[in-house]
């Protein structure tokens, strides 16, 4: 975090190939020795660690720019390659160019007209933003068809490409056995030596006549003394119906290719989609290799003082060694074969320096056998430069620790351990008005809690606050200074849990500094984060400028995210025990005396009880519903069918009828929470959710709520009935199997008999489990805690209860009964081809009763499938989400209501066809505006206060709530 960083802004980035001259110019030094350090540990001059390439050791000075490590970015060097080598990344393009240009004059093998045609086509495709490669490929294809160059008339040959970097020119040349073949043909033998079809022998005289060649010349040719010219050869071939050629593979050395490409004119290059101003084709053949600065390949000093070099350095060492040997050998006049071998070796090393994962090339390996990570590998993939370092960055002022619940916090808050608060500082600009406050922070030092870690003087010097100097420093602090104070209650931070699947995975919270080492959250914010407390960790980011803090407060705070844009209803609401609590409180509408009622409401802002609901034996009492109603806004009217199936009616903020459970106050669309959020605003909704949670906790503690084995055991007689039901089902399965075996089973349309049998058995057994469940259910009271949880929607379902008390039921793998294992049977305990229920994974026992070993095994099979499924699913859906985000991330609504991407292409003229925000309107309802209701309110003047009326008419915006601590005023105005 150095100060005074360049104020320059990147306007655009252009890409291109580099001219070798440019390499030489920007190079800090030429590298000639493969050694890195001398015996004293100093870098060798003109070696790979030359100090002119930049510094990595602290304290040293860069010889090129004079800066120290950290501020010097490093400088490139260069290696003069003994011979040109091909750049692996461009092998395909090189092949295309070789095929499409003339081997003599290097011009593109297209006539002027064709060239123009492709040029206009290319411009058009560019305009349309389509793939340019399609056009250039077509151009090359057309050029390849030419046998001769339309400009110089040179005959063109085919180019063979041997991966990765060898090119051959395929020429048709006269075979060495031409004389023998001609002689044989003239004697009437067929060319293959196949004697079956003899043909007319031909005298030399006749041949001479047929081909228009001198007889003497023919004789010379036949004796092998004269090689026929091409035209002669063709004539002889025609006369004798012979093929005298053979393919000759003429290897094109990189230097040849470079010479070839140098002559391609700029206009021709342009037709192939190459921008000649930035990238000349010959630059694809390297003559100079840039050496990355040492900062890009730092060496590490191990504990024992040994230096360990970076993979890139290793590769460069190889290149320099071979380069050296090449030059020496060439100067010594070594045979061509050796030179070629060395050339190939140099090519290999340069190739793997750029990309070490080329197919067909063995990857260069480290001494330990690990493949080296070279340039391409550094860029590629999830941990590569692009996705790992550029798109995702590491940040300061962040903390991560385990989370744990704290129901006393508001959902907007987060408990932050003191240790984290001491580290994550906030910058405080000292003014006349807060000098005392700032001094207090500094005086506390870095160790005391609301202390400070650094101060910055107006002259820009940063001073560390220590235990020793804090008192003294505090007196010096004045207006104009900056103090990096510790985080205190009320500061805003960003809180996040991965995977961040939707925007509610990152929300802003207000800090409450707390002892111990975990982050504390209100349990109601678990659903948006998808968090639980079985060891989950979360990340926190302290914000570092006022703009960020303001945005976080206004847009990102938990209360601003109560409504989910996915389905347009609240995602935050009461969960689990809260729901059991409100259910117990309202379902049978129990009565409470004054003490009890006050106790229930003690954690809310209600400090006065309403009128008693009634009197019993002279004592006033309050009903559960009346107590719950205290939390509702005074003018709330609502009527809907609730969780338990009965109507929930709220009139004037009074719960008249109905049970409050999941569909009323729960997350994911709890009707009451949803309505309050939409009608009364986020602040009111936050207060409501907090209070419902508090009341519910009090209520569940009042009634007491626990669950044990006994709650899921059924009496003997019920167990007998269950056993009967299962036996019954077994009998029916037997019957089915019998009909199947006698061939009487009728197949369902579109199914085979086997499939029909399986389906019917599954059905029968499914019914058996259900009836077992029904029997078990009959024996549970309505106040059974498992039933309460299932009915209220707090947790679990009737099916869970069935499995615990009645019968676990059929285990399935791939949606079928278990059919795998041994040949024709699932386990060796059964006879082959046993179709019965128990042999295919029907678990007749309940979880409380206990599974027998075979059942347990089948159960584990089903369970395993579930685990595999989840594992596969997370990776697949993760990729799907990444692709979706990447494709849609640039879309944004504009002031004119259109949806456009960042290059201003209109994607929708109005978002979602009607411009309605998905946050504000539930996807399940039509969300139409109720004009009648509005008219009623206006005409009847049903407003609590004039302020609310102004808000209702849109003349006044409701106040922006910026902090929890503003609530006191906020709430008083509310009811």
């Amino acid at each position: 975090m150095s100060t005074g960083q360049s104020p320059k802004e990147i306007g655009e980035i252009s890409f291109g190939l580099m001219d070798p001259e440019e390499y030489r110019e920007m190079s800090a030094t030429k590298i000639i020795t493969a050694d890195t350090y001398d015996d004293d540990g100093f870098p060798i001059d003109m070696g790979l660690m030359d100090p002119r390439l930049g510094v990595i050791d602290p304290g040293l000075e860069c010889k090129t720019c004079g800066k120290h490590s950290g501020s010097c970015n490093g400088h490139f060097g260069h290696i003069e390659l003994a011979a040109p080598v091909i750049h692996v990344g461009f092998t395909k393009l090189i092949r295309r160019l070789l095929r499409g240009t003339c081997r003599n004059c290097s011009r593109l093998l297209l006539t002027e007209d064709e060239r123009e045609k492709y040029r206009t086509k290319l411009d058009r495709t560019r305009e349309l933003g389509n793939d340019v490669n399609d056009v250039t490929k077509a151009a090359i294809r057309e050029a390849r068809k030419k046998d001769r160059c339309p400009y110089c008339g040179e005959v063109q040959y085919d180019i063979n490409h041997e991966k990765p970097t060898t090119y051959y020119e395929v020429q048709q040349v006269l075979t060495s056995e031409y004389s023998e073949q001609i002689a044989a043909a003239m004697q009437g033998k067929s060319p293959d030596g196949d004697d079956e079809e003899g043909r007319e022998p031909m005298a030399p005289q006749e041949l001479a006549e047929a081909t228009d060649i001198d007889l003497s010349r023919i004789n010379d040719i036949m004796s092998g003394e004269f090689r026929p010219r091409e035209s002669d050869r063709k004539a002889i071939e025609k006369a004798l119906d012979l093929d005298l050629t053979e393919e000759d593979m003429n290897k094109l050395m990189p230097s040849d290719i470079r010479d070839w490409f140098e002559d391609i004119p700029d206009e021709d290059v342009g037709v192939l989609g190459i921008n000649p101003e930035r990238s000349r084709p010959e630059w694809m053949i390297l003559t100079v290799l840039p050496v990355p600065p040492v900062t890009a390949r730092p060496s590490i000093t191990l504990d024992n003082g040994q230096r360990s070099e970076d993979d890139l350095t290793h590769k460069l060492v190889d290149i320099i060694r071979i380069n050296q040997r090449f030059m020496e050998n060439r100067e010594a006049g070594a045979p061509q074969l050796i030179i070629e071998d060395l050339w190939e070796l140099l090519q290999y090393h340069v190739t793997t320096f750029m990309d070490n994962e080329i197919s067909g090339t063995p990857p260069a390996r480290h001494r330990s056998g690990r493949p080296l990570k070279t340039l391409s590998q550094r860029l590629k993939g999830k941990e590569g430069r692009f996705r790992g370092s550029l798109s995702g960055k590491r940040v300061n002022f962040s903390a991560r620790t385990v989370i744990s619940p704290d129901p006393t916090l508001s959902l907007n808050e987060v408990g932050v351990p003191e240790r984290v608060a001491r580290e994550m500082t906030q910058t405080m600009n000292v003014t006349e008005r807060n000098t005392d406050e700032a001094r207090r922070y500094v005086a506390n030092g870095p160790g005391g809690h609301p202390g400070a870690n650094y101060v910055k003087r107006p002259d820009g010097r940063r001073l560390k606050v220590t235990e020793k100097n804090c008192e003294e420093l505090a007196t010096k602090v004045e207006a104009g200074w900056e103090v990096n104070r510790h985080m205190v209650d009320g500061d805003i931070i960003i809180f996040n849990r991965q995977p961040s699947l939707h925007r509610m995975s990152i929300m802003a919270h207000e800090v409450v500094v707390m002892p111990y080492k975990t982050f504390r959250l209100n349990t109601t914010v678990c659903p948006p984060y998808n968090a639980d407390f079985d060891g989950d960790e979360m990340n926190m980011h302290a914000l570092q400028n006022e703009e960020a803090r303001a945005e976080a407060r206004v847009l990102m705070r938990v209360q601003e995210q109560i409504l989910s844009p996915r389905f347009g209803e609240n995602i935050i609401g009461a969960i689990q025990d809260h729901i059991s609590g409100t259910y117990l409180l309202t379902h049978e509408n129990p009565r409470f005396n004054e003490t009890q009622a006050l106790d229930l409401l003690r954690a809310t802002r209600i400090d006065e009880l309403p009128e008693p609901s009634g009197e019993e034996e002279g004592e006033p009492y309050w009903t559960g519903r009346d107590i719950f109603s205290e939390l509702l806004p005074d003018d709330l009217d609502l009527e809907f069918t609730g969780t338990v199936g009965d109507d929930v009616i709220i009139e004037d903020g009074q719960l008249v009828e109905g049970t409050v459970a999941e569909d009323e106050v729960g997350g994911f669309g709890g009707e009451v929470v949803d309505t309050i959020t939409k009608v009364y605003g986020n602040t009111r909704s936050r207060i409501f959710i907090n209070e419902v949670a508090a009341l519910a906790m009090r209520s569940i503690m009042h009634f007491g709520f626990s669950i044990g084995i006994d709650d899921e055991t059924v009496p003997k007689e019920a167990q007998d009935r269950i056993d009967d039901a299962i036996d019954n089902a077994y009998d029916r399965v037997e019957e089915l199997i019998d009909t199947y075996q006698s061939g009487d089973l009728e197949s369902l349309p579109g199914r085979t008999v086997d499939e029909t049998l399986e389906m019917k058995i599954m059905q029968t057994l499914g019914k058996a489990r259900d009836s077992a469940g029904d029997i078990a259910e009959d024996h549970f009271d309505d106040d059974n805690p498992a039933v309460v949880m299932a009915d209220s929607g707090a947790r679990g379902s009737m099916l869970n209860l069935t499995q615990m008390a009645g019968c676990v039921g059929q285990q399935a793998v791939r949606g079928e009964r278990i059919n795998r294992g041994y040949e024709d049977r699932t386990l060796s305990h059964y006879k082959p081809n046993d179709l019965s229920a128990e042999a295919h994974g029907f678990v007749e026992h309940s979880y409380t009763g206990g599974l027998d070993p075979r059942e347990f095994f089948f159960h584990a099979m089903g369970g395993r499938e579930g685990l595999v499924d989840t594992a596969v699913r997370t990776s697949k859906s993760g990729y799907l989400q990444r692709r979706l985000i990447n494709a849609l991330s640039e879309l944004e609504t504009q002031y004119d209501g259109t949806v456009r991407d960042t290059s201003d292409t209109v994607v929708q003229f109005e978002f979602g066809e009607d411009g309605t925000s998905p946050v504000k309107v539930s996807s399940s309802e039509d969300g139409d505006i109720d004009v009648e209701h509005i008219a009623d309110r206006v005409l009847d003047e049903e407003f609590g206060s004039d302020e609310r009326k102004q808000e209702f008419l849109g003349k006044k915006r409701p106040p922006t709530n910026l902090s929890e601590h503003v609530d006191a005023r906020q709430v008083r105005g509310d009811d």
């Binding site: 369902l748 349309p749 579109g750 994607v907």
Partner: protein, 398 residues
């Protein structure tokens, strides 16, 4: 019930609001439906409606793309991987859940399990017999459905004993069958009544067996791609009618068949829809198919506007583009954005050759170079309030 029913004053105040026509009319009818609404009250009603209306509009500069992507991607984690399940019709297996969703955004040329829902025109839809007529036009009829084949090795002939009832039902005659066999296999047939016989020209056992194999693959009637048709009576808004469900899809062929109500018939192959009905229909069908997939998994609460946005970006170019490296992400203008998505190195090398320039307009590029992105709050600049207002309220401008 419209403007004419209210006084001019009321009309003036209502027309003054930013409400769409539909809501204005609703305000008129509400006001007209009550007695003695003053212009002032009408104004208040209109203002309140306008307030509520404006509250439900998307905010300008809302990054709706990311929100939509998240809203579809997030429930993906809750979907099942189980490929086969039944969509309404128990007889036909259809790919469901996450694999189907992936298939849709991938814009695969053919879905894993192509399927059509064929609605019939009125006179066919109510009559089972007539509905069946259409079925035979669609379902590919192979020889096994028409009769029994036996190979007589001694005489080197294949003989087909046609089932006359089936023939009559499927409206095809033995003559026609013989003719089709002659055309397809290039052999002479000998047809007598319901018996068709033929054999290889030269007696060859191998050829005989080959002929039988080929015979089994011949489609005598119907559309080759449609292997099975299921007919179901369904309760629709307009009453009971027969609906056909097909395994295999040949949308273009089916809508040509007489009796098929082309306006209601659909296929789950979006490319076929695009080819036959155009890009708008394809867009509609992408929305429909994704919504059905989500609904089947109990995730029908996803707002349809998110799916619309996905469908719109997929069809924005006038053709169906997939979401991913071969489609939208691969055709972005920015080199850096493409390189950061997939196949990093190739994009950089190509960019060098073409001498591309990255203007740094998009999101990913700006993250890479470390500039604020041009979305949401990054798309506006703040200016401190001028001295105009006395109460120093900062003024926002873009």
């Amino acid at each position: 019930m419209t403007r004419s029913d209210v006084s001019e004053d009321i009309e003036a105040v209502v027309e003054d609001t930013d409400l769409p026509r539909r809501l204005k009319d609703e305000v008129y009818s509400t006001v007209a439906g009550r007695d003695g609404v003053t212009a002032e009250q009408a104004d208040q009603i209109a203002r309140a409606v306008e307030n509520e209306y404006l509250d439900t509009r998307v905010d300008p500069l809302d990054p709706v793309g990311t929100v939509s992507a998240q809203s579809i991607g997030e429930p993906g984690t809750q979907m099942t991987m189980n490929t086969f399940h039944y969509a309404g019709v128990a007889e036909i297996d259809v790919t469901q859940g996450l694999p189907r969703l992936i298939e849709l955004v991938d814009a695969r040329k053919t879905p894993d399990t192509p399927m059509m829902t064929v609605h019939l025109e009125e006179e066919y839809a109510t009559d089972r017999e007539r509905a069946h007529e259409v079925v035979w036009q669609i379902e590919a009829t192979k020889i096994l459905a028409l009769g029994d084949i036996s190979t007589n090795v001694a005489d080197m002939v294949v003989s087909i004993d046609l089932n006359e009832d089936t023939l009559e039902e499927r409206m095809i005659t033995p003559d026609e069958i013989a003719e089709i066999i002659e055309d397809e296999l290039g052999v002479k047939t000998n047809q007598q009544g319901a018996l068709v016989e033929f054999g290889p020209e030269q007696p060859s056992y191998r050829e005989l067996l080959q002929l039988v194999e080929q015979l089994r693959d011949i489609v005598f009637k119907g559309i080759e791609d449609v292997t099975r048709v299921v007919i179901r009576k369904e309760q629709l808004d307009e009453g009971e009618e027969f609906v056909l469900y097909t395994e295999g899809s040949a949308f273009g062929d089916v809508i040509e068949i007489e009796g098929v109500d082309a306006s209601r018939t659909t296929s789950n192959n979006i490319h076929e829809i695009n080819k036959n009905l155009g890009i708008e229909a394809a867009r509609e069908s992408i929305i429909e198919e994704t919504m059905n997939t989500l609904e089947e998994q109990g995730l029908g609460d996803v707002n349809i506007r998110h799916l619309m946005l996905v469908a719109d970006i997929m069809t924005n170019q006038g053709t169906i583009e997939s979401i991913g490296r071969h489609g939208i992400s691969g055709s972005k203008d920015s080199v850096l954005a493409r390189a950061a998505f997939e196949v990093t190195v190739n994009h950089l090398l190509d960019a060098a050759i073409h001498g591309e320039v990255d203007d740094l307009n998009g999101v990913t590029e700006n993250v890479i170079v470390g500039k604020p992105i041009k979305l949401g709050t990054g798309d506006v600049d703040l200016r401190m309030g001028s001295s105009s207002g006395g109460d120093a309220e900062p003024e926002a401008s873009d």
